[in-house]
Every structure is written in C-alpha cells, then in structure tokens.
Amino acid sequence: MSKTIIEKFAESIGIIPKLEKEEGGLDRLTEAGDLTKFPPIEKWDNWVEYEAKAWPLKEKKNYAIVPTTCFNCESACGLTAYIDKETMRVRKFEGNPYHPGSRGRNCAKGPATVNQLNDPDRILYPMKRVGNRGDGKWERVSWDAALDDIAARIRKALQEGRNNEVAYHVGRPGHEGYMDRVLQAWGIDGHNSHTNICSSGARFGYAIWYGHDRPSPDHANAKFILLVSAHLESGHYFNPHAQRIIEGKMAGAKLCTMDPRLSNTASMSDYWMPSYPGTEAAVLLAIAKIILDEGWYNRAYLENWVNWQEFLKATRPDQERTFENFILAVREEYREYTPEYAEKESGVKAAMIRETAKLIGEAGTRFASHNWRSAGSGNLGGWAVARCLHFLHVLTGSVGTVGGTAPNTWNKFHPEFFDKPPAQKFWNELHFPKEYPLAFFEMSFLLPHMLKEGRGKMDTYFSRVFNPVWTYPDGFMWMEAFKDESLFGCHVALTPTWSETAYFADYVLPMGLASERHDLNSYETHSGVWIAFRQPVLREAARRMGKNFTFTYEVNPGEVWEEDEFWIELSWRIDPDGSLGVKKHFESPYRKGEKITIDEYYQYIFEHTKGLPETAAKEGLSALDYMRRYGAFVVEENSYLKNEQLLKPEQ
C-alpha cells in the first residue's frame, strides 16, 4: 500500500491527518511462510509482540507469560496468561503447550477467562452482612477481622465438642486432596459436596464393578467409542476428551452416542441413538446379549478376571463349574434383553443396536466409552447405566487396555503431603444420615430439611463455589434455612462472584479465578498421569521481577484471595496455642514450629513427585520452579493394564 500523490499532498498541507507507517522491528520466530503456535519458553519472561487492537500500527507490548490452569470446568486445561509488564494486567489467555491433558488447546471457556477477570460486577473485597441475613446489605471488612471472627467461632465449637457443627460444602473442588487434609486436621467430619445431585449415580455403577468410581477412556486409540450423553461438548474433561475422540475418529474409530437430544456430539456421531431418557440401560443390555449370543466376548479376559465360578455356585449350584456353563448361564440371564425389547423400551432401532454390537465385538479390547452425569443422575436407577456399560468392557476385555477404558485412578496423581492428620473421629449424620446406608455421597440435598427437623445445626458453614439456592431442586427451602440464624449460625460464602447463595451469607469472601489462586490438578484425561499447577499469575510475574508477596491477595485485583492460603491462616488462628492439636498440621516441614507458606506446601508435593525433581534438575531448576515455569508435568505415560502388573510385597 503506497499513498497517492494527492494523499501525500493533502497530508503535507494538513487537510487530513498524517498517517505514519511504522516499522515493527521484531524478529520472526520462524522462516517466512512458516507459522508456529507459541512463543518459545525461553522468551516467556520477556515476550514482545504487536498489540492486535492497534494494528496496523506496530505497537509493541511486553508480556510475562505465566502458565496456570483453567477453572471453568473440572478439566483444568492449561492456560498461559499474557501479563502486560507495564500495567501488570492480564491482556489475554492462550493455551499451555506443556499441559499433557489439553496440549496447548482450549475450549471457548479458556480464553473467555479474561472476561471473568474484568467482570465489573465481581467481588473485590471481603464483605460482611449488615442487617438481617438476606437483606442484601454489606460492609467491607479486612481479611484479618473476618479470619479472627470465623476462627473464634470454630475454635469455640471444637472446644465444646460441637465438631459436627462445622462444615464445608463444595461445588467445584479443583484441587487434589487439599481440603480433605484441612478438615481432618480440624478433626471434623465436615465435608459436604454437590455430588449426589451430580455424578454419584454414575460413580456408584462403576464402583460396584471395580472399586474405582470413574471411567478413563483411551479414546485416541479406540476402534469403537460409545458415549452416553454429549461428551464432545460437555461432561467431564470436555476439551481433552473431545480432542482424543476426534483423533480416534480420524484414525478410523466409529463413534456412537446415546443422547435423547440432537447434541453436537450426536451430530458428529456415526451412530446416533436417541434413546428415551432413562432407557439407556436397556440398549446396553441388548448389546451385551448380542455379544454373548454371538460369542464375541473375550474369553481369556472373562476367565481371568471375572468371578464366574462364584456366580455359577451361587446361581446354579447343581451345574458343573465350567466356563461354557457360565456363558450359557449368563446368556440365560440375558435372554429377555433382545434388540427388539430394547427398541420398544428406548426407541433406538433394533437394527442399529445389532450393528453397533457387532462393531463393539470387533473392536474388542479397543472399545472406549464414557458415561457421567446426564443419564446417570437424571433418572431413577441411573446408576445401572454405568453398571451395564461397564459390563460391555468386561465382556470385550477392554478394561485398562490400549484403546479401552481404564479405572480413573490409574490416570490420576496422588500427592504426598508434608503432614497427614489422623482420620476424624466424628460421623456427621447431617451428611450421611443412618437411614441411607447405601448413600454413595453426602445426602447434601437433604441438609436444609434435616436442619429444619431439628436434627442438628450448623454453627459455621462454608459454601464454596456452590450455589444450592439456584441449582438444587428446592432452592426456596435453602433460602428459608439460610435465613434462620438458629440453623446456620454463620454462613461464609467463598466465591469469586455473586450468587443467589452468597446473598444469604454472613461473610462473602472473594476467592480467585483461574489465574488468581494456587491448586494442584490431575485428571484422567487419557492414558497416563499428569499434574498441573494452577498459580496466581500476577504473583508469579512479580516474583520473576524480583518482587515477593506474603499473601496472594496483596497482588490480586482488589483483595481477592485464594482458599489455600485462607485455610492455612484460618487453621492457625483456630488453634493459636496448639492446644487443639490443629496447629501442628500447618507447620512448615522446612522451618520447625513456623507456619507453612503456600510455596512450601507445593514445594513439598513437587519434591515428592516421581521424576519431577530429576527433570527439573536437568534444567537447573527446583521442582517448584519447574512447575512455576512449565505449569505441568507428565508423571507417567501409557498407564495400561495395571491389573496385570505383579504386586510388590509392600502392596
């Protein structure tokens, strides 16, 4: 583009403004024509690029690139924050190429994190209720005042043996074992969750098969993928799983989805089974029947890993205990579940059930599936969906195989903590009432009802990223209970943003978003084990520039804090003299008798992570510094067939 003579003349005499053409002067990362995805990690401390908004003016912006993890769902995909070193604000988020789960890519929610940071309605300072609970009037308080007040309440409750009156009710945990350790250190049975209105149905179905309560499908290597509900666009591990489902599909896998809705997943599937809600199990039983009848089952696996002798003994004591008899017996059990029966139940065409059963049989050990909430949580007996689905894996022997579906724990990291408090000595019946002996998770939806029945009270109740007033079936009941100060003595809402539940709190304490907090993440996104480090990026950027802070809220927007440091501080104040036995669980493993810092907490974990200190040392870094820089670490790759490994004596 070159200016015409007219334009040059008009600019020179000032009729129109002179538009300068700037020379950028920044070097390319690649040869002309080639493009790469991310700036090289050596440049992350000092990355200069052109500001898109000023373009074609070549305005240079100097960024510190700091990895963290997304917190807009459970997956904890990698993010890198681009921190403008001049303003110390996050300009944008991109992916983290070093994150083994997300591999540098994200869903729409990743880059959108910047909107949450800049939300004009977010809570920036600790707030205390003024007037009656639920009046919506607040005053700003200091963290010190809030901590002292809450700590004193808990201390009194613990001193008086009212341990069951302190509870922590969580929506989205987002960490590995941190809170369980804190609650145990306090000596309370204080954990409540949202799981019973969410995944407990699916978890139960899996747990009764193999003691692990989640599936970990190896989609990328599968030949047939069966999804119960829309796992290409929602569900746990959306982005990491969606990547691998399509990878599997591009490598030739067939994709089948059972979903009453025309979801994106259903649309992308080779087979869409629009089953009536609650009938998924019927289809799965019919597939099992076909596999059994046609002899497509994996005999070696069944013989080895299924207690078929016990089954025969229990159901057909008169028969000889041969595998053939076992198969005949199971076929007899499944006789009624014909594809036609399933079609009548579910609306899924019998022909499609036959076709997919054949493909599952052919896929054999390379059959991957996923089922989580939806069918499992939305229907009476929904737990049977996971149970029936897993039976197909047992039949095909695709448990923990390449392209199969593994127990989640094979692909999940278990951190080693600096201190392990003893198990709690209390049983809180407000969480697990005795009349529900089979409850797989806390009967959390009953909490306000039980309080109103006079079965107990909550002296100090923390809700964390949890909004029952809005999301539970009977929000009005929660409102009623929250308003009653004899039921909830003090309600502390830990949340990054306002919610209907926070409205009925005594303290609303602002907790950081994805880039404003510490957490350790590890999820079963594929075959392998990884950890990722969620960190407050402004604090890390400041640290790299030589500026250290005691608490994350000193560097976050306003006084937004994070749970990790909050719990350490609160615990310390609950037991200032150590008489309750709480304090000792929050003492530094590196400085005897002193309060642990958040850096020390993670330093200890990373120093005790298999392979991490060695990898870090190769780059001349400590384990903690390695995680601060890369944000993630691969602990183990290809975690297949762990059931076939010989156990060591100590195991």
Partner: protein
C-alpha cells in the same frame, strides 16, 4: 506466498473456541464477530444432524471489499492476507455490501469497518492465528498454500474442498472439507426469528449509536425488536422460492447464527440517489432542450437549472456524508483515493460537476459565451456520469445480486431525465415565464415514464440468474415490498403522473405529475436500495 484457511468439518465440533479466542485476541466488542460458527440443522428426526460452519473473511484473491473501498482502508498484503487500516476508514459500509460472505462489521467503538485479518500482527512474528491455536480439534488449518510441504497444501491437494459462493468470482482462500450446501449457502435456510441479541439493530455494530436510545425504555425496545423482526423475515413470495429450492430435501433450519446486521444503507442512500438524479437531470434536460431547440432558452431557465443542480448536488453530498459512520473523515474520499472504487470516481465526478456548474454560472454572469458553451458540453458528460455512476458502485457491491443488473445504469439515467423534467414542471409553478408546461416538458416526462416502465418490465421479465436476485425480485413483486412497489413506485410514481399528463395540460396538474414522479423515483430507489440488503449473506 499465499496464506489460506481450511476448515475441516470432519473434525469441527461447533464449540465456539475460535470465536472467543478471536474476541480475546482482538478485544472485539459485544455483538460483532470476526469469526463465528453458524449451526444449521437438516433432515428430520431421527435422520438429522447439526452442521457447523466456521464463517469469516475468505481472504479472497480477488476481494470485492478491497476493490470497492474508497480509501484503501482494506488492502492486500504480499502474503495474500486481506488486512485493513481503521485509521483510513470512513464507515461507508460499501465493503459490507461488496463482501458476499458477510465478513465485515462496523466496530461499535471506532465506527469503522473491521473483520478477520488472519491475525496479521501474529503472522508477522511467525505465530499462527489465535483461532488456529485454540481449536481443540485442529479443525482450522492455516498456512502457506504455495508451500508444498505445508499441511494446508497437502490437504488441498488430497481432499475434496468447497468454497462459499464460488460463482462470485472472488477466488476465496478459505476452503471447507466436508462443507455442506445447507450450511454454506445462506439461501438454504431462513434467518432465525428475532430474539434479544441476534440482530445488530438492537444497538450494536453499525447500530451502536442507537444503543443508548434503546436502552432506556421498554417501549423502544419493543419497537426495536419488532423492527428487527421485520428486518429478518422474508415474507410472501420469497418463501415459495425457498420451498422450490428445497423440494426433495428436508428443510434445513438455522440453529445458531451471528447477529443479523440489518439494513446498512438506509434512507440516506435512497435520498442521495434522488437528489443526485435531480441535480444531474435538470442539466441534461436543459442541454437537450437547448440543443434540439425544444425551449428552455431563457436566462431564467439557465439560472434556475444551475441553482437547482447546485442545491441538490449539495444535498447529495450532505446525504452521502450523513450516511458515513465516520462523517468526520469524509474528505478521505477525495484525499486518500482508491481509484478503482466507484465511490471515489463518483466523488470526483460530483466535485467536478459542481465545479463546472459554478464555472458556467460565473461565465454566464460575466457573459463569457465561449467558456460557457465549452463548459456546458463537458458538464453534460459529467451530468450523465453523475446520474449513472451509482449503478457501477452498486455493481461493485458484489454481495447484492440484485444490484448486478445490467439495466441499472439505464434505469438511473432514465430516472435522472425524469427527475429533471419533473423538477422543471414544479419550477413552472414558481416561474411560468421560464418554464412552459403543456409542451415538451410534459411529453418528455411521459416518454421518460414509459421508458422507465419498459426497463422495469425487462428487469423483472428476464429471469434472475441467481437465487438471491430471484428472491429479491419476488420480495418486490410479491413479498414485503409489493404494496410499496405496485401502489407507490408504479401506481403513484408512474401510472398516475402518466394519467395526469395525458389528460391535462394545466399548470398545477403538470406540477402534481412532476411531484408524483419524483416521489415515485424515491420509492423505487428505496426499494432498490433496501430489498437486496434483506437477503442474508451468510
């Protein structure tokens, strides 16, 4: 080197990550998009699916937006990227009419045009565009299409690919693997019904200036929604043509789409076409009358003509500037010219025409006969140019099929001649000595009207080659514009004046006929300007 995109629909799961990554990278305001995912559902249960199509600038080799842009705010880079410079943009929205792919929008903060620029600021550092980086499925592939080692070259060589609207001859550099006509071709599906945020008329994009007004009363919101509703639907005959097109296939519907941009060229543009027609028309008619000795040879007639031409030329300029989203930059048309743009050519034409009219006035005043005579001949050529250049501008607006009609220049010339004669019939009421009615002016207008009707007849008689043009014609003849067209443009604007002129020689009736004819021209231009803009481009 030539950068291009592939959207691999074998892999795209419609997750909108590209949309948000782009929003974040470029800090794109609410309601406008540089890239978006259109979702279309086709078939009937259970044989149905949702199709995802990532929509954005196609970085065309022969980009109509670059050609039409009057100020070179849009330009080709050497690597094939079509980039833009918001500092030059005047907000004329002609790029939005020229782009057949709906790629551009008016940024509600800068009031200038914007679109996907392939993240040129990243590419210059060797980084992939933000959308490519974020995509969970690697379904967006960027790269140098001339590099045989590149993934994009290999995919283009081995896969069946499809572009949007290949018939436009724009040579798009964005290719779809497994692209589906139901999703890529906007005429396959109706625009979705209006809801709060799916129409920019609700106060974003070009309509951002209305936002404040709309925000404060429910009444206004209701009105806006109703208006937007009208803007979206294609009533009447057009529906029939869609049904015809879909005969045999199940009707597809839009499940998700970017906000509708509404009418971009409004009444200002129809008004400017009318004032321009009058300004050019009076001179043309005067010249012909003098040349063929039909009359109008008085000094009075000359001064009235020059005055009328200059006043209406001034109005023309005022409407043109008013239509800009950056009226403060209107001088860019003259001083930062991009010569291929008919907006620039027209702008210069109007300027010279105004200058020559002034020169004639000066020459007439000082009685410089030779100069006046010479100037008149050049002015005649310029007046014809001024009358018809808009047809070439409209033709440059490749997004609007109906404007590609070869009759459009003739249509504007006839309109201008009619407007000239009609104006004189009105002036006759004021100055009977300079303009006599009942004579050649009446006949001139009658012939003009007959020719006008003939052109319209041919416009609609000849089959429209493209679906969009066909639908526009249906909208005019049978759809939402039929009443305005038949009663207003044809009845009031042509038949009634023809009737009046045929059966009466009275001063007042002739003037009335002139007035109706002018109203008819305005209504016709309103329909011609508006109707094609109601056809969705994406």
């Amino acid at each position: 080197m030539r950068y291009g995109f592939i959207i691999d629909n074998r892999k795209c799961i419609g997750c909108h990550a590209c949309t948000t990554a782009c929003k974040s990278e470029h800090d794109v305001p609410i309601g406008v998009n540089r890239t978006w995912v259109k979702q279309v559902e086709k078939g009937t249960f259970p044989n149905t699916r949702r199709l995802f199509s990532v929509m954005r600038c196609n970085h065309c080799t022969d980009a109509p937006c670059v050609e039409i842009c009057p100020v070179e705010a849009l330009y080709f880079r050497e690597d094939g990227i079509v980039d833009f410079d918001k500092r030059r943009c005047i907000g004329c929205k002609s790029c939005m009419q020229a782009c057949p792919y709906d790629a551009l929008y008016i940024d509600p903060e800068t009031h200038t045009a914007a679109k996907c620029n392939y993240c040129a600021h990243r590419v210059d550092l060797g980084l992939e565009p933000a959308c490519v980086n974020v995509c969970p499925e690697h379904a967006i592939i960027s790269g140098d299409m001339e590099d045989e080692d590149s993934e994009i070259f290999q995919l283009l060589s081995r896969q069946q690919v499809k572009v949007r609207k290949a018939e436009k001859g724009t040579q798009p550099n964005l290719f779809y693997i497994d692209g589906d006509e139901a999703s890529l071709n906007p005429s396959f599906t109706e625009k979705s019904d209006t809801y709060l945020w799916n129409a920019q008329t609700r106060g974003v994009g070009h309509y951002a200036k209305e936002a404040e007004k709309l925000a404060w009363s429910n009444d206004d919101v209701l009105k806006a929604v109703m208006q937007a509703n009208g803007q979206n639907s294609l009533e009447g005959g057009s529906v029939k043509s869609i049904e015809l097109m879909l005969a045999g296939a199940e009707k597809a519907r839009r499940a998700y789409d970017a906000p509708n941009k509404g009418i971009l060229w409004g009444w200002e543009v129809s008004a400017y076409v009318l004032t321009k027609a009058i300004s050019a028309g009076v001179f043309m008619v005067l010249f012909m009358a003098n040349f063929f000795n039909w009359g109008l040879d008085s000094d009075g007639a000359l001064w009235w003509t020059l005055g009328t031409a200059l006043v209406f030329l001034g109005l023309t300029g005022a409407f043109l500037v008013k239509d800009l989203d950056r009226p403060d930059r209107f001088l860019n048309v003259i001083f930062r010219p991009q010569w291929k743009s008919w907006l620039v050519r027209g702008g210069y034409g109007i300027t010279f025409y105004g200058g020559l009219l002034t020169l004639i006035a000066v020459a007439a005043y000082f009685n410089w006969q030779t100069i006046a005579d010479f100037a008149k001949i050049i002015t005649l050529l310029l007046s014809v140019f001024v009358a018809i250049y808009t047809a070439f501008l409209f033709a440059q607006a490749k997004g609007r099929d109906f404007w590609q009609s070869p009759t459009l220049a003739l249509h504007m010339l006839i309109h201008s001649l009619m407007a000239g004669a009609a104006s004189f019939l009105l002036l006759a009421v004021l100055d009977q000595s300079s303009f006599e009615t009942g004579g050649f002016l009446n006949n001139f207008l009658m012939i003009g009207i007959r020719l006008n009707l003939l052109i319209m007849f041919f416009e609609f008689l000849t089959p429209h080659m493209t679906e969009d043009a066909h639908r526009t014609a249906d909208m005019i003849l049978k759809g939402r514009y039929s009443r305005l067209f038949w009663l207003g443009a044809i009845g009031l604007g042509n038949v009634l004046p023809l009737f009046l002129l045929t059966f009466s020689n009275q001063n007042m009736t002739s003037a009335l006929a002139g007035l109706f004819a002018l109203a008819g021209i305005y209504l016709t231009e309103k329909i011609w300007v508006e109707a094609p803009q109601r056809i969705p481009l994406s």
